[in-house]
Structures are given as C-alpha cells and as structure tokens.
C-alpha cells in the first residue's frame, strides 16, 4: 500500500510543482535524482582534463586563454552538481577522490584523447552542444528546484563554449588545405561518437524513470534529433561533411547505428554494425584515457592525505 508520503509526492509531481527538500521525496526519487546529478557532475569534471590536453596546443595566447576559461567553467559546473549532491547527503570529496575510475559516469567520448586545437574546437561545437541539449532539457523540465535554478547560469556559460567551437571550426575550414582536411578527418570520428552520447534509441528503451520523475523532459531520440538539427546544418554551412541528412522533419543517419569503433585509431567501421549490448560493453570497459584522467586529479589528494596521516 502506498504511504502518505508517496501519495503526497505523486500529487506534487503530477501537478507539475517543484520538489524543494529531501523530506518531500520518496527514496526512489532521491536515488534517481542523485544518479542524474552524478552523471552531470562527472561529465563536467572529466571534461576538464579531457579539454586541457588539447588546450595546451592552442594556436595563440588568446586562444589558450579561451580554452582555459572554458575548462574553468566546466569545473564550476561540476562543483554545482556535486554541491547539490552534498545537500542530498553525499560527500563531494569522496565522490571525486575516492571512487574507482571505472565507476565515474560520463560519456565514453571523453575517454578518447583530444590531442589538438582542432579536436578541441570540434569538442566545443559537438560535445558541448550535446551537453547544452541535455542540460537545457533538464533546466526546462527538472522537478528539483535547487538544480533547476542552478542551471540558469550554466546554460549562459555553455553558450560561450559553443561559440568558441563554432567560430574556430569556421576559421579552420576557411583556411583550407591541410587544416581543413584535418578538421574533416576529426569530425569523421567525433560526430558518430556524439550521436551515440544520447544513448539507446527510444524503441529499445521502453521505460524511463528519469522521464517519469521529470528529471528530464525529452526522450533520447528527441534529444538526439535536437542535437542533429543544430550540428548538421552548421557543418554543412562551413563545408564540412557529416554522415546524416534531413528527411522531412527528422534527421537520418547515413551509417548503421550503432557500429564498431576503434578507439586507439579513432576510426569507425561503417561496414561493421554491432548491437547496443556491444556498445554498452565498450562503455562499461571505458576508453583509453579514463584511468589516467581520474588518477591525475586523485594523485595529489592521496599524497596530502598520506602526509597528514603520518
């Protein structure tokens, strides 16, 4: 039988009201909220070391400054998510420094090294656009008041990252020659990796607790379509080819989805379709930079703790 709290909670949620305190939540809602916040915090946090490797290859001092400013934003956005988790009873320090690298919940794409300024520009235009769609949807739909309000400024700052990515992609494409060829070959591996970011297609995902709890408002496919509707026309407008086209109201992929990815060589094999179970297995195993990136920021924490203890 439903408890009084459950009945009150269901009524609040179906009215479209905001949840403000833990005393209003059911244990299941609290668990799903924490999971969603952890994915968000981990994604923002890990984007910092992922972007930093490439930011060091900036082609000018000003560009380097922009890259570093974006990284600073991402760390601040991570902090917002972890801070809310603290208020929900988690320990930010433990979450960041005492978890096993493989238990971090962020998109697989960040595990594949970004090694040049061109790759960072594409990441700002594609990965940050994916973040923009996901967070924009949460901002719009989110039933948890403190997070919804925290996202107002996050969205404003993400706009700046998109602008950096798009203006550099445009500049590099305009430069032509080898620079443009490099841009195209990087888009070739980064575009499908971001398409995959949005997860299982709706036809395979029958039930979403996040949708039920209004922790998001759009389905995976709706979010993927939103992303495609921005990225495909943009790439076409600057003369960069992407394997997708518009058909009626929707965007259609020109390759089997999903298919096999070779992370070491940053190469997709469009002639080798695979199952979503294969993709989920690849995600769970994590990619090339996972352990290294997590170890990078956990190392000093452990050193300091060891000194304190001795």
């Amino acid at each position: 039988m439903a408890t009084a709290n459950q009945v009150r909670f269901d009524a609040l949620l179906s009215k479209g009201d905001l949840v403000e305190t833990t005393s209003e939540m059911t244990p299941e809602y609290l668990k799903e909220l924490k999971h969603t916040l952890t994915v968000s915090g981990d994604t923002e946090l890990i984007s910092a070391p992922a972007y930093y490797l490439a930011a060091q290859r900036a082609p000018s001092v000003n560009a380097f400054m922009t890259g570093i400013a974006i990284i600073q934003d991402e760390l601040a956005h991570a902090h917002i998510a972890y801070h809310i988790l603290e208020e929900l009873g988690e320990d930010e320090e433990k979450l960041i420094f005492e978890r096993d690298p493989k238990s971090f919940r962020y998109p697989y794409a960040f595990d594949v090294p970004l090694e040049s300024w061109t790759e960072l520009a594409i990441a700002n235009a594609m990965y940050d656009q994916a973040g923009f769609c996901l967070l924009g949807d949460i901002h719009e739909a989110c039933s948890y008041g403190p997070w919804k309000r925290g996202l107002v400024k996050v969205m404003a700052e993400e706009n700046f990252h998109l602008r950096n990515g798009q203006s550099w992609m445009k500049k590099i494409s305009k430069a032509g020659g080898e620079a443009k060829a490099e841009l195209q070959s990087n888009v070739d591996w980064m575009f499908p990796l971001t398409v995959e970011w949005f997860g299982l297609p709706d036809e395979l995902k029958m039930h979403s607790t996040q949708l039920e709890y209004r922790l998001k408002g759009k389905t995976n496919d709706q979010l993927r379509q939103w992303w495609l509707s921005v990225v495909v026309p943009f790439c076409e407008s600057i003369g960069v080819k992407v394997p997708a086209h518009r058909e009626g109201d929707a965007y259609v992929l020109d390759y089997p989805f999903p298919c096999t990815f070779d992370a070491e060589n940053k190469r997709w094999d469009f002639s080798d379709p695979c199952s979503w179970d294969d993709v989920l297995a690849r995600w769970r195993a994590r990619g090339p930079r996972n352990a290294e990136m997590v170890a990078d920021f956990q190392e000093s924490y452990y050193k300091l703790r060891k000194s304190r203890a001795s």
């Binding site: 560009a63 922009t66 400013a69 974006i70 404003a156 700046f160």
Partner: protein
C-alpha cells in the same frame, strides 16, 4: 540612413553582444572612442580584464559589424588599457542589464 557615420558606428556597436553576458559592448563601457576619416573607422576599445577569455571573439565581432555598415571599408581596432575598465564605465542601461542577470555591480 540617418545620422553621421560616427553616430551610426556607435549604434552598430550597441548591437554587438558580449559573448559571455547578456549586455552589448557600448552599455558595458568597452568602447572608449570612435573616429571616422572618410570610409576609415578607428575604434579605441578595452576589456573588463586583461585575461578576457572572449578577447578575439569581441575583436572579430567589432570588425565584422562595422564593416557591414554602409560607407565603411576599413576598420582599425586599437586595444587600450588606460583608463582601466571599471564598473563605473557601465551605462545605466548596462548596469540594469547586469543586475537583471544576477550580477552585483
């Protein structure tokens, strides 16, 4: 087209938004001086901080917008640091825009 070219250039830069905040460059107080000689326009402009992450974007936007103005075919942008920018450079409209956005100025 009404007004002198200099007036139109000020109005044009009031259409250019700061890439990080919902405020235009004129209301933010970044534009110190605009001089017009024939079809050549030169602009003295500053930034809120020397480490402005949007440095190149703002310079690109200023050039692009002024070149789109009829009668302008050359734009020279000079970055100046004296006097240093402070919140006193905001116009009353700019102050209001930043306060609405949640920034105490």
């Amino acid at each position: 087209m009404t007004g002198s070219l200099e007036e139109r250039c000020w109005a044009a830069l009031a259409e250019v938004q700061d890439p990080e905040m919902p405020i235009n460059l004129v209301d933010l107080g970044l534009i110190y001086r605009i001089q017009v000689a024939g079809s050549h326009v030169s602009v003295d402009l500053t930034f809120t901080a020397m480490g402005c992450p949007a440095y190149e974007m703002i310079l690109d936007d200023v050039r692009e917008r002024l070149l789109a103005e009829p009668g302008v075919d050359q734009v020279l942008v000079k970055v100046v640091w004296d006097p240093p920018w402070s919140s006193a450079m905001l116009t009353p409209e700019g102050r209001e825009a930043l306060e609405m956005w949640g920034l105490a100025v």
